[in-house]
């Protein structure tokens, strides 16, 4: 995602601002851009959501199918997450099979869903060893102005939270909501010129030395982490990032709950 070029005059400007505790778009270091979530916008999908964080726009769609389970987990459904950095989203994205950036993005989103057990895969078993539900989460990046990790995770969670299992299509009774649990929320930070800022816009992401994504749950526990880029963090910085993730995570969780209907996940 970082093949974007940036002029050195802009880079100097961003670095100078950072020394004065300022950012290019006027935000505080710990401030997100405006987040908006719309759900159920694709009729053909079992669940879908469009998330905007500032100018960044991501569309996630959930499709479900019936298939065979993996032999090492015969009583569990299957979850597959993929991400496409389509050339629509940025002049620097190219068509073709997913490159390492798209694969890292998909895997980080996948881990956020899988390891936190947002979807109870055991509930998606139809006939042990024979038939299970397969859940496809597809991330479509539409407009890229930084912070795809948070936008994509949020879009995936919102799409899953509103997804209906298409039982009718497979003649297995009525459609019902996909059983999901309280999700952990990812917050991404980048570091440049000794400053650490949350929710980087593209300019900040382009000059970033290091990136850290932390997913935290309702109780304030850490559920997933991913460090990226070639710079480093001190232990102290990591601790500060975790603290800020918990604070921001609580705020974003509220936005997600409002968008998908507060009790959707708890009913099941």
């Amino acid at each position: 995602m970082n093949s974007t070029l940036i002029s050195s005059i802009k880079k100097d400007y961003l670095n100078k601002l950072a020394e004065q505790k300022k950012r290019i778009d006027g935000r505080a270091f710990d401030e997100y851009r405006k987040i908006s979530i719309e759900t159920n916008i694709v009729r053909k999908a079992e669940g879908s959501a469009r998330v905007k964080i500032g100018n960044t726009q991501v569309l996630a769609g959930v499709k479900m199918d019936v298939g065979e389970p993996y032999s090492d987990s015969p009583e569990s459904g299957v979850l597959t997450t993929s991400a496409e950095l389509i050339p629509m989203a940025s002049p620097d994205f190219e068509a073709g099979p997913p490159r390492e950036d798209a694969i890292e993005l998909a895997r980080v989103v996948d881990r956020g869903i899988r390891e936190s057990e947002v979807i109870d895969l055991d509930k998606l078993c139809i006939e042990p060893g024979e038939k299970v539900w397969i859940v496809f989460v597809d991330i479509h990046v539409l407009d890229y102005d930084g912070n795809l990790f948070d936008a994509s995770s949020l879009a995936a969670l919102a799409a899953l939270s509103t997804a209906m299992v298409p039982a009718e299509r497979f003649e297995m009774g009525k459609d019902y909501p996909l059983p999901i649990k309280e999700p952990p929320i990812s917050c991404t930070f980048v570091k440049f010129n000794k400053a650490i800022v949350v929710d980087p816009c593209l300019d900040e992401e382009t000059i970033a030395e290091a990136r850290l994504t932390v997913a935290t749950d309702e109780e304030g526990n850490i559920r997933a982490m991913q460090k990226g880029l070639s710079g480093s963090f001190t232990l102290d910085e990591v601790k500060k990032v975790i603290k800020a993730s918990i604070d921001n995570g609580a705020r974003i969780r509220k936005i997600l709950e409002d968008a998908v209907g507060r009790d959707h996940g708890k009913k099941n």
Binding site: V42, A45, S90, L142
Partner: protein, 243 residues
Amino acid sequence: MKSDIKLIDKEGKRLDGRKRDELRPIKIEVGPLYRADGSCYIEWGGNKILAAVYGPREALPRHIQHPLRAVVNARYNMASFSVEDRKRPGPDRRSTEISKVISEALEYVILTEQFPRAMIDINIEVLDAEAGTRCAGLTAAAVALADAGIPMRDIPVACAAGKIDGQVVLDLGKEEDNFGEADLPVAIAPRTDEIILLQMDGHLTVKEFDEAIELAIKGAHVVSELQKKALLAKYAVAKEVKQ
């Protein structure tokens, strides 16, 4: 394809209540994307499609450059969740063909000779699909090109006609596409009515074809007005206020 479904009732109404020469509802929005040089979002019946334009910019890799004009690259892509059964991501034979005919149609109206060695990329993303995506996609792409400020002879526009239950109708819907007898997508340059995209599958007599293409061109002119209205809504200069 034979089926028991009646696509037109006794009063001449279609499954979704339309008359034979009526379009599905269409909504066009100019410039929904931030990064793209030009963009357009279209809802056409149940279709939801985004188009984005990048360029003109240096054509890369170098060997695709044309010394006298720009190359026009449209890329039609369906989101994996846009159809009933999940589509595997990435291009297939169908989308490759559609990309090619749309590129060729758009190339005709773009003043490519003004931009030697450059390329103009047009991305068409089908987010939700329901019959007639190539027409809706081309229509959106044309608006995105205008939004990007790319010089064109005309703003192209597309619309389909077809045959269902033995009758020629405008703009096939989902069931009509699946169970109808013919589909005829057409794109035109509306100022001159030159045909820049034409495909057909099914079965039409010559007389039916004449009727269908006339209907499609008429429909395209209606859509053309919607394109212009959407562009004016974004770009019309506000009336000067007296100081």
